[in-house]
């Protein structure tokens, strides 16, 4: 309130003229204190910290001494509820009802984010930490389980066959889904029409296809009718059915972001539809498309249930996707932890950690490549575009030299910097 009152007191001229006319406030140096809009007020920070400490203390008291409650999760829940209550009481000492509800809701939002993040970190960290005993043995990555029994120590046997199986299956799936998925996305965006809307609806519905149903479909259609045996190829087909809608949807979003004036400029130059797609739309959205494919790969690599029905379980290396069972990493994890032996469970965690690290690596690559909208260039691409513009200018001016007298050095320098702001078409 003090901030609002102070300018009124410092302008007495204002009060002397009570007419309803707009008056220019008298300028003096008494500018009120600048309001801090950003940082958390000190007493609120104290409230938060105090409430957290008090909540933890209350929960610890309840769990340790006053009641027979046990368990870490229960302790967390009780401390959180105690924190919310104490925070509300502390805030209401200094603020009105609106402010208290605002603070409580903000605390709830932050804690939801914290729960989600800590769950993510905890799930991944738990897997990797429990997987370390298996991962530190180098044989884990180069040997198969052919000669290793459930009771053998971790220094015998490994998951080389599962890693190879995963790579073969995901490669086949990518060979199928990249052309099909991106062409379908191009169809949805560039061709359009009633059928395209229908295809979009269907591919949206496919994203919710339960993975076990995809496996069952491939089992019914391919394994029992065509190949008559479980194989890596059937598993790759099942993974493709799961990955296809993901890639279509992600590419569709990326292609939709390509600015329309690029397409129009291309058509205005007299190109065909096909040339516009190939030379303008696809290069413009290249990084986004690559990101879409990598994210689809990360999802496909972790699919267990379609593979469970279609690929079969084996302990041996199988390099032929068309004959014999071929295990993949997630299925190997599932198979390992079915055993009650601690060594097999440790191997399961090791395989799961490998899978998690693979997914994390794919995700990081996707983030490094992606994150730029269509038409935004990296430094290297920008230099290449600038160099190409210079070449074009020289070529044009070389052809036009007999008709021009002035030297072209100044225009070259402007052209080398200009295209960096433009799109690469």
């Amino acid at each position: 309130m003090s901030v609002i009152e102070s300018p009124a007191r410092s302008t007495p001229a204002h009060e002397q003229v009570p007419t309803a006319r707009t008056a220019i406030p008298v300028r003096d140096d008494a500018v009120g204190q600048r309001r801090d809009l950003r940082s958390v007020p000190l007493d609120d920070a104290f409230n938060v910290v105090g409430a957290i400490v008090a909540g933890i203390a209350v929960a610890t008291l309840l769990f340790g001494w006053l009641t027979p409650m046990t368990g870490f999760v229960g302790w967390l829940v009780v401390s959180f509820i105690a924190f919310l209550g104490i925070y509300a009481v502390l805030s209401s000492l200094r603020a009105d009802r609106l402010t208290v509800s605002e603070r409580i809701m903000t605390a709830l939002f932050y804690s939801a984010g914290a729960i989600l993040l800590s769950a993510l970190v905890f799930v991944l960290g738990f897997t990797v930490v429990r997987g370390v005993p298996a991962l530190i043995n180098p044989n884990f990555f180069v040997e198969t389980m052919k000669l290793a029994g459930p009771l053998d120590p971790l220094s015998v046997g490994g998951i080389a066959h599962a890693i190879v199986g995963t790579l073969i299956q995901i490669s086949i799936a990518l060979v199928i889904t990249i052309p099909l998925g991106i062409t379908t996305a191009v169809f949805l965006n560039e061709v359009g029409g009633r059928f395209a809307r229908f295809v979009r609806t269907i591919s949206d519905a496919m994203t919710a296809l339960p993975s076990i149903v995809a496996g069952l479909f491939i089992y019914a259609a391919i394994v029992t009718l065509v190949t008559h045996q479980r194989s890596g190829f059937a598993a790759a087909l099942a993974i493709s059915v799961m990955m296809l809608p993901i890639i279509i949807r992600a590419s569709d979003v990326v292609l939709r972001l390509v600015p329309n004036n690029l397409r129009e400029a291309s058509y205005a130059l007299g190109t065909t539809r096909w040339r516009t797609v190939w030379n303008v739309v696809l290069p413009t959205s290249r990084s986004g498309l690559v990101t879409a494919v990598i994210l689809g790969t990360a999802r496909g690599i972790g699919e267990t249930s379609p593979v469970l029905l279609t690929s079969g379980v084996t302990a041996e290396m199988n390099l032929n996707p068309f004959s014999g069972p071929m295990i993949s990493l997630p299925l190997q994890v599932f198979d390992f932890v079915k055993s009650p032996e601690p060594h097999m469970i440790a191997r399961g965690f090791g395989a799961a950690a490998t899978l998690v690290l693979l997914v994390l690596a794919l995700f990081l690559i996707a983030r490094l490549i992606g994150g730029r909208g269509p038409g935004q260039l990296s430094d290297r691409q920008r230099r290449a575009t600038a160099a190409a513009s210079v070449r074009d200018l020289r070529r044009i001016e070389g052809a036009a030299r007999p008709f021009r007298s002035e030297p072209a050095t100044t225009s070259v320098s402007t052209y080398t910097t200009d295209p960096s702001e433009e799109s690469p078409s």
Partner: protein, 337 residues
């Protein structure tokens, strides 16, 4: 000045009829269009083939069991006594538990991302939520079995002790006597629901976040200018505008929760009877049934499993179509404002 000269020129043009603006596509374009239509057609054909093959193979089992398939609880195709009542009940139970946990969590996270945190943190959080969606289901299952189970059992025991008077939270044996032994709380629908909830939160969060970020700026600023707090602004502007996103995202997540397989298989201990006591050991789901029984199934047993898969397929399809209709309608409504 120039217009006069133009009006004089045009009647003098020799062409007797207007030029046709329709261009005939060149050969390359015709090929391009054909390829595109073919790709779209293949995508649709795959989806239709899923339905056709499942119904074709399920026909045998469905013809034998008739409508009793929907309300029989046992699953023994060899004796002809099989139905999905128990597994469908388990599927829905797990999905409802998962949604009960996931809806508040994802609603708050979506609001945190779209309304509270500044830009740089926002894109980091969005990436992390996307990463969470890519964590394989088998990893969540491992975590659920080897960590969560042991830590949630005390919570389950506490709930059943103090809220046992609500029938679904009671844990009793066949005679109705209350059980407090920790062994009665393992592998329950509750634990499976918690794990599934973590797997559906990312989907739900990203749909809701998109809907919230489309709430119009003018109304937001209007609310703030009238003296509303941020929560007041969220309550009166963001949530009403994002209602379609909330409902649609929840239904999309429901579709995923119904179809979740491996994590559920790893956690539950399968039973073939309707178990109302969600904290008690033993539940089942359609996808878990398929994953556990496909190996030893006879030709007819496989047909029965296909029938179960067909029911799951149809349910998720209905849920998902409804969800995407709601999301699409809410999106167009937000744009017109």
């Amino acid at each position: 000045m120039s217009t006069e000269s133009v009006t004089e020129v045009i009647p003098a043009a020799p062409s007797p009829r207007p030029r046709s603006l329709v261009s005939r596509p060149v050969q390359a374009d015709r090929v391009f269009r054909t390829v595109c239509y073919a790709a779209g057609g293949i995508t649709v054909a795959i989806m239709l083939a899923v339905g056709v093959f499942l119904s074709g193979r399920a026909g045998e089992a469905l013809a034998r069991s008739g409508p009793a398939f929907l309300w029989t609880q046992e699953w023994s195709p060899e004796t002809g006594e099989f139905g999905i009542a128990a597994v469908l009940f388990g599927t829905v139970t797990i999905a409802i538990i998962a949604l009960t946990i996931a809806v508040p969590l994802s609603l708050s996270t979506a609001l945190l991302i779209s309304e509270v945190v500044p830009g740089s943190v926002r894109s980091l959080l969005i990436s992390l939520v996307d990463l969470m969606a890519a964590v394989p289901s088998v990893v969540f299952g491992l975590w659920g079995v080897f960590f969560l189970q042991a830590n949630v059992i005390p919570v389950s025991q506490w709930i059943s002790t103090y809220f046992g008077w609500i029938p679904i939270f009671a844990v009793t044996d066949d005679t109705g006597a209350r059980i407090t032994d920790a062994g009665a709380f393992t592998s329950s629908a509750f634990i499976a629901g918690i794990v599934v909830s973590l797997m559906i939160v990312p989907t739900q969060t990203s749909v809701m976040r998109e809907a919230f970020s489309q709430a119009p700026l003018g109304e937001r600023e209007g609310a703030l200018a009238l003296g509303s707090t941020r929560w007041g602004m969220i309550r009166t502007v963001v949530l009403p505008f994002g209602r379609g996103g909330i409902i649609g995202g929840t239904m999309l997540a429901l579709g995923r929760a119904l179809g979740e397989t491996i994590a559920v298989v790893m956690i539950i201990s399968p039973i073939f009877s309707v178990n109302w006591q969600v904290l008690k050991t033993g539940t089942n789901s359609v996808s878990a049934l398929i994953a556990l029984r496909y190996g030893e199934a006879s030709q007819f047993g496989l047909s029965a499993l296909m029938a179960a898969g067909l029911v799951l397929f149809i349910i998720t399809l209905i849920v998902n179509f409804t969800a995407s209709t709601i999301v699409a309608r809410s999106r167009s409504g937000a744009e017109s404002n």
